[in-house]
Symmetry: C2
Subunit: 191 residues, 2 copies
């Protein structure tokens, strides 16, 4: 029961974070969405930051599950593309929590969460392996530091191009995914 309630809370936080972002999301809203009193919410999570952290851990765990399910036989480049594709699909489904890039209280709360750190390093290690293997096999640009590649992939999780293209209304979700994948891996210059 308790776990189910907390799952309901996290699910709503996740959705609200995706819709409005951390600053615009209020704890009152979350409580109303779940259908409980705000004070009850605070029995489960001690602060708004912890709510955000729980939502982030949830989506990052799902990302890890996805990465673990990727066909190991695929070329490294395809593995990386499928990871980015998964991220973009989650975003277009309105289920990617969006946090401010600079917010010290939030960053502190995230980094003090063991679960968050573990999920983040887990994802980073998996992608890092694929990136470096991809560079060895000549598919990923070997001139780029692997960390730069990793950050560039991470950044697709909050790339405003997705919302721009969505707002423009000229493309289906699938087309948006393909466009962002193309610019990310092939660049803007003609090949």
């Amino acid at each position: 029961m308790l776990a189910a309630r907390e799952e309901a809370i996290i699910q709503n936080v996740n959705r609200l974070l995706a819709e409005k972002g951390f600053d615009a999301m209020t704890v009152d809203e979350v409580a109303a969405a779940v259908g409980i009193a705000k004070a009850s919410l605070y029995k489960h999570f001690p602060s708004k930051e912890d709510l955000a952290a729980a939502a982030m851990v949830r989506v990052m765990r799902r990302a890890q599950q996805f990465l673990a399910s990727v066909d190991p036989a695929l070329p490294m480049l395809d593995k990386l593309k499928s990871a980015v594709r998964w991220t973009l699909q989650v975003r277009l489904a309105g289920q990617m929590p969006s946090l401010p890039s600079q917010n010290s209280s939030l960053r502190a709360a995230l980094m003090s969460s063991r679960d968050y750190r573990d999920a983040l390093t887990g994802i980073g290690e998996q992608l890092g392996e694929w990136i470096e293997a991809g560079q060895r096999e000549g598919a990923v640009d070997p001139k780029l530091p692997s960390a730069a590649v990793l950050y560039t992939l991470y950044a697709r999780a909050c790339d405003p191009v997705v919302e721009f293209l969505k707002a423009a209304g000229q493309h289906t979700d699938e087309q948006i995914v393909d466009l962002v994948l193309s610019t990310c891996f092939d660049g803007l210059s003609a090949r």
Copy 2:
């Protein structure tokens, strides 16, 4: 005198927006930085949103000036690269105001400002010309809608990769600029 004071205000807003972002920046801080009382600030700008709009207009006007100064003889791709390079340099100098991507009151205030809309469309038209000319001459990927290219260039103004690389401390500012330019125009895949 009045214009000079307002210039001082905008300059401080610009810096604070670059440092902390819109939500974390407080009007009290701005007043303190300028060295005037908060009430005096409100004689110049009617709201916090208007402060942000003024800062954005300022940097966008500078961007337009830069675009106008680019050598017309350059290949289109080099013109586009120099535009992105300028943006990244402004960011690394800590002078690019950062706004939340989703904030309805702020977006409304920005879009209700004639100066803002004019600057935005001016930049969009100039870059749009270069993009489409670049596609005609085969330098910019012709498979991409020109709007998608434009959005991708715009997005470099708030790409978190810049801060990630800066925080990692492994690269000079020049190297960071080159890395982001490389991933933006040439992609992550090997060529």
